[in-house]
Symmetry: C2
Subunit: 457 residues, 2 copies
């Protein structure tokens, strides 16, 4: 067994790995849309077969939702066991008209692979699978023991994987978890994420009249759910970005001063970030904090969509009978999602309007998490990243939520190595999602080296 | 020529009139949706052919939009000339899933005809056409001269008909206008509308980032157009229903005290209205006014839809690059739509959020109007209604806007008789729109009598 042989194999098979990834990306496995449930099965089966073809024991775990693909390769005695995680589900694709090429027809342009799921997360899942292939096709051995947990509901609440993890702590026992669902700090600058925001995703339903009414004939007496939702949205966060839910910030614990200082030294240029990534007239957000602090260490609240009434082109004078607002909050240590949801709900109900019945529902929740950074796992990962990218890894955080990391910490008592291959401009959850090919191949190489480093110790 | 012969003919041909109306209702002539532009032509041609088949001179007038059907029958010397108006376009049908039977498959249930456009306005247009048929097929003469103006953009701004009216005041010269696009006060209680609210329909576009962004990775720094629209909506009308646009109420002129007093005597029961028509937990609206006052004599503001972001089922953590809010205001005498739009726009711009660019557009506008009620026209109409329904007509107002009435007053100096056949629970602009068959047939009879009364004088 040789890490070098695996690296040579990986380099020689880049084209094959790319074609194989494209096949997976052609499956429109959108977990939140019921009409794609058949595609979820297709994607799960493909991953399961791929693992089996390499000699990994793999099976499909059914649950009350989209299945989990579970696998094991446990023949490396007296070496650590790593629990690998990724997800094969993807986000919806609308607005479809803004895609340059169709979301499920993967296309390479300028060294990037464009497709829904390229970076989030199929491309990242395949870096781990391709690293396994690189070892097993060259020496039929892996330097570490691996357990594979690939879910299909990361974008949809993750109920099946959560139930499975909670029910099978012995089967999933490992020394550390490795999650491939994050990104580099910037092109050429790898990052290990040592903290993640949590989230609470809610929907506020507002109901007025028993049916849609004409605003000419009923305007002035019929309660309007959309006007009512406007008052609720305005009452949750002020125009500057300060959340106005009483008690919301009470449990926020900021990172230590030296961590905050180290972030000041990162190659982050606000003007460039504004221009290249956001493209708005200015950045906004909670006064008194830097942009990186606002993304990595401060909670926030965003409205994602307001279904109801007439949203087509032109004019329709309808007072909708009901409407809703999809609103999520990003949480930081030590905010508790359950407590935050209750505070949110109380505030929403305070902000109600006459004649409007409110119902506050929770779609999903994930705890914020901080990962111990001074460990053999992080040391092995930093070395692997330095050898692959010739650049020290940034020990950063992410504004995004990966609920599985909190679940691993809570249910399995596992630390997680968050080593990922996306870039900030990869258009996750937006049209023209991409994965840079250099990162895909670098991800495979880094993973090979990471496992090699742990096997040697 | 005999009014009685016409009435007998109308009674004998009710089934044929119903089948003919159904044919018109099967054409999905939704004027605001570009994909239905062919259906607009089909509906216009059908009306034009129908008039010609009766011996009315008729033509299709093209313009920059959907065509107008214009017709004339001018052989009744020394009698008044009436300019008839109705519209053959209909509202969109969403939410389609709430229709009991498909919107363009007219179906009779329990004495009602269900279809999009049944009451608004194809069924009402046909009461006039069928009254013409009833005279011309029995005596080949009409008791009055008629000009017909049927437009296809009432739900979409009415630009073509407005241009045509303004360009051809001589051709359209008449003694009075008759509009069939309103309703009865209640089942069995006819109404003549002597006032209509105007409206201004706007759309506020909010733009933040250059594209949709992931709320985990950008939440806290990216401006969110939906949060910004919430602040705007909340800043336009308070939770109780008082509009908070500075100067908005300045020009409002309430009806005289005796008119307001007469409304108190109408058979209007707030609890019944709430239960049967609105179906909410309570009525809402501007404090200090009765429900009829709030609908008939007070302006209001409603949000109709908020396109942008993710409005599907489930959860998507997107910060949309742009979103908009469709907001309209109903106006009363003597509010001026242009002035109100400027006040609205100024207020919206005051309510902006950092990083959000706002663009305020106007879809359509119509002036409020009050019709002189002490005239030979109204007397003839009251008599016709009393003879048909055995009940005195209520001299009421409507909360809805019929911009054509304001246009006739301004451009042609015409008063308008607003005699209509809808009912308050007809679900205009909503799923399961209907027209009560008794009202359809009563509308034909009333129209026959109205013209007969004017011819005799």
């Amino acid at each position: 067994m040789s890490t070098n042989d695996a690296l040579v194999y990986a380099r020689d098979h880049r084209d094959a790995f790319l074609e194989d990834l494209k096949e997976l990306l052609r499956i429109p496995s959108i977990s939140t849309l019921p009409e794609h449930s058949g595609d979820m099965i297709t994607a799960a089966r493909r991953l399961c077969e791929r693992l089996r073809s390499l000699g990994v024991t793999a099976e499909i775990i059914e649950g009350d939702g989209h299945p989990v693909v579970y696998g094991e390769w446990l023949k490396a005695e007296e070496t650590p066991t790593i629990l690998l995680y990724g997800h094969y589900d993807v986000q919806p694709v609308d607005p479809i008209e803004l895609w340059t090429t169709p979301p499920f027809e993967p296309t390479v342009r300028d060294g990037n692979l464009y497709a829904r799921g390229a970076a989030d997360d199929k491309g990242q899942v395949m870096t781990m699978v391709d690293a396994v292939e690189s070892y097993l096709r060259t020496s039929s051995r892996l330097p570490v023991n691996l357990k594979f947990l690939f879910e299909g509901e990361e974008e949809a609440g993750g109920a099946v994987v959560e139930a499975y993890v909670r029910a099978h702590p012995d089967r999933l026992r490992a020394d550390v978890a490795q999650v491939a669902d994050s990104g580099m700090f910037a092109r050429g600058i790898p990052m290990l994420e040592t903290g993640l925001r949590g989230n609470v995703y809610t929907e506020v339903y507002a109901r007025g009249a028993a049916q849609d009414l004409h605003s000419g004939l009923y305007g002035g007496v019929a309660p309007n759910p959309l006007n009512a939702l406007g008052h609720i949205i305005a009452g949750l966060k002020d125009r500057e970005g300060r959340i106005t839910i009483p008690g919301f910030y009470d449990d926020v614990q900021m990172p230590e001063a030296d961590v905050l200082r180290s972030w000041q030294d990162l190659p982050f240029d606000e003007a460039t970030f504004l221009r290249d990534e956001v493209g708005a007239s200015q950045l906004t957000g909670e006064p008194g904090y830097t942009p990186l602090e606002r993304i990595w260490a401060r909670p926030t609240l965003d409205v994602h969509g307001i279904p109801g009434g007439f949203t087509g082109k032109g004019a329709k004078t309808v007072i909708p009978g009901e409407a809703s607002a999809k609103i999520s909050m990003r949480l930081v240590p030590n905010q508790n999602p359950d407590k935050i949801f209750e505070l949110f709900k109380s505030r929403v109900l305070e902000l109600g309007s006459p004649g409007i019945q409110l119902d506050v529902q929770q779609h999903s929740a994930g705890r914020p998490v901080v990962v111990a950074s001074d460990s053999r796992w992080i040391r092995a990962a930093r070395q692997a990243l330095r050898d692959t990218f010739s650049h020290d890894a940034v020990l950063g955080r992410s504004g995004g939520s990966i609920p599985i990391v909190a679940l691993f910490a809570e249910a399995l008592r596992l630390d997680t190595v968050l080593m990922g291959w996306g870039l900030p401009d990869d258009n996750l959850h937006a049209p023209n999602e991409k994965l840079t090919l250099d990162n895909f191949y670098g991800g495979i190489d880094s993973t090979i080296r990471f496992w090699g480093n742990l096997g040697k110790e």
